[in-house]
Structures are given as C-alpha cells and as structure tokens.
C-alpha cells in the first residue's frame, strides 16, 4: 500500500530531475566507457549507458579481485627475500 502511494510520487519527482539533466550528463558518462571511444556515440539511450556503466564497474571489480589474488600469492613468495624487497622499494620510490 505505501509502496503504491509512494511510487507515483517517486516517478513524478524522478522525471523532474532526470530528463534534461540526464541528457546533459549522459555523454560525459559515456565518454568514460571504453566502448564509447570506438563506436559513434549516438546510441545514447540512458538505460543502455547505465547498464554498460554497471557492467564495466563490475568487470573492473573482478579485475581488481584477480589482481589482488595474484598479488597476495606473489607477496607470500617474495616476502622471504629481504634484499629483493629493498630493491622493489627503491624501484617504486
């Protein structure tokens, strides 16, 4: 019941914010996605851009997870060699 009552209110206020501002912000958001740089940017339906943004963020998360797994294994291996740890530190700074 409260859900039904709030939804028309939600959609009304939502449309007041969105239409103009979304059309302004969409190209900026689209420029961030890696695909947008290859394709022509006119397929700018808001839903599609949002969807691709979500999946791109998810893939970035997955990459970070994989990299952290790899790093944890590598760190376990290299931590025992202190001269090489010093080398790494000097290389990075």
């Amino acid at each position: 019941m409260s859900g039904r009552r709030s939804r028309p209110r939600q959609s009304a206020s939502y449309s007041r914010i969105t239409d103009d501002q979304i059309n302004d912000l969409l190209p900026k958001l689209q420029a961030l996605l890696p695909e947008a740089r290859h394709q022509s940017n006119d397929r700018a339906s808001a839903a599609k851009v949002l969807q691709e943004t979500c999946s791109y963020i998810r893939s970035l998360h997955r990459e970070v997870d994989d990299l952290s797994e790899r790093l944890s294994e590598l760190l376990a291996a290299t931590d025992t060699n202190s001269p090489q740890a010093a080398v790494i530190r000097s290389l990075l700074m």
Binding site: A46, L60, V64, A76
Partner: protein, 233 residues
C-alpha cells in the same frame, strides 16, 4: 573519525570553490553550490587526476607500504598466505586515501571499514528483499501505462549503479554520475597500478633483478631524458 573526514572534505570543497566562485557568502552553502555548478569541471578534473603517472606512483608506494604492514600484523608466519580479500580491502582503502576525501565513495570506504561488512550484508539483504517486492508490484502495473515502464527500469538501473559505487545508494542522479565518473577513473588507475606491481613482483620473484628493473622502468613511463632502467644498471 567521521568528524575529521567531514571537516577535511569541507576544507577541500571550500578551497576549490573559492577558486571557482569567490563571491559566495557563507561556508555552509559551498557544498550545495559545488554540486550544482561543477559537474563537468569535476569530471574532467577527476579523470585527469587519476590518469597522471604521479598519482599512480603515489598509489603504488602507499600500497606497498600498507601491504607490508598488513602482512606483519596478520601473523608473522602466516598459516595461509593473506587472502586476496585482505589485499583487495587494503588496495581499496589506499585508493580511498589517495582520493583525499573529496569524493563520497572514498569517504564511504574509509568510514565503512571498522564497522564491518556484516552490517552492510544484513542491510543489503533487507534492501534486496524490499526491492524484489517493489519490482513485482511495478511488473503488475506494466499494462497500465506505457511511460511508466521506462521510468522504473531506468530508476532500477540507477539504483544498481548506486549500489556498485560505495556510499552512493541514496544519491540523486547527477551527483551519482559525478561519483561514478571519479570512481571509474580511480578503479582504472588501481588496475593499472596493481598489474604493474604484480609484474614487478613476478619479475623479481623469478630471480632476475634486471627484469624487475625493466618492468619498473615501464611503470615509471619516463619523462623525457630519464631512463629508469639505464640508471639502475
């Protein structure tokens, strides 16, 4: 800790806002002004900031230090090597620190850690349950209006996006897109930095310090006239 980060955030915002608009009267209004006027500027600024080599190097060195500290505190002879999970959390935290408290997602990451993931999971489960109920209701009303179909789906996707970016669930759409652009740029830098770090570690781990030097030279991506590999040899 919240007070400190909030004060730091306010300081940052007032400094940048003084650059944009020196006429505004009171410091309390700065935050609102910044959100409304600065969307394009903040996007460009944030993307450029995360792409610089300088930023990446800072992140790398901080990450190495943080990882070392974590390894030392976890257990001196680790029974199992530190899970990817703790590395991931460390990396996220260092990323949030590198953001210097200017963005909501970074503050959310830093604030969220001590409380723990349990609360978030419980809240997430409750939110997911209520979301599914709402979705069923909107599905029932679909034949009622053609336009209403588009808006809930758009809103749903915006909420999904808000859930992906930490700390941005209840954000209005323009500020959400702001945060998203900065978050994506930061994540890309995180990926670049961590993969470079992994390259260095694996190269040096295989026993050839010379290879590690070459890999580090690529990481530093030389300013003209300076060759990292050359000086090390």
């Amino acid at each position: 800790m919240n007070i400190q980060t909030e004060a730091a955030g306010r300081e940052e915002i007032t400094i940048s806002d003084a650059a944009i608009d020196p006429v505004t009267p009171s410091p309390g209004k700065y935050r609102v002004r910044k959100r409304k006027n600065g969307t394009l500027k903040t996007a460009q600024r944030s993307a450029c900031r995360w792409r610089t080599n300088y930023q990446q190097r800072i992140y790398c060195s901080k990450l190495v230090e943080a990882l070392r500290r974590v390894r030392r505190t976890e257990a001196p002879p680790p029974a199992e090597h530190p899970h990817g999970r703790s590395v991931r959390e460390t990396a996220d935290r260092v990323l949030a620190v590198a953001a210097r408290g200017r963005t909501r997602w970074s503050r959310a990451i830093l604030a969220d850690r001590p409380i723990g993931v349990k609360l978030r999971r419980a809240r997430g489960a409750a939110a997911a349950a209520s979301c599914s109920i709402r979705r069923k209701k909107s599905g029932a009303s679909d034949p009622a209006g053609g336009r209403r179909v588009n808006q809930p789906s758009l809103e749903r996707k915006a909420k999904l996006l808000g859930r992906l970016v930490p700390g941005c669930r209840k954000l209005s759409l323009p500020s959400l897109l702001d945060e998203t652009s900065d978050y994506i740029a930061a994540l890309e830098m995180q990926v670049r930095a961590m993969s470079a770090l992994a390259e260095i570690l694996s190269a040096s781990g295989s026993g050839a310090a010379g290879d590690g030097a070459v890999a580090a030279g690529q990481l530093e991506s030389n300013p003209p006239g300076y060759s990292g590999a050359g000086t090390l040899q």
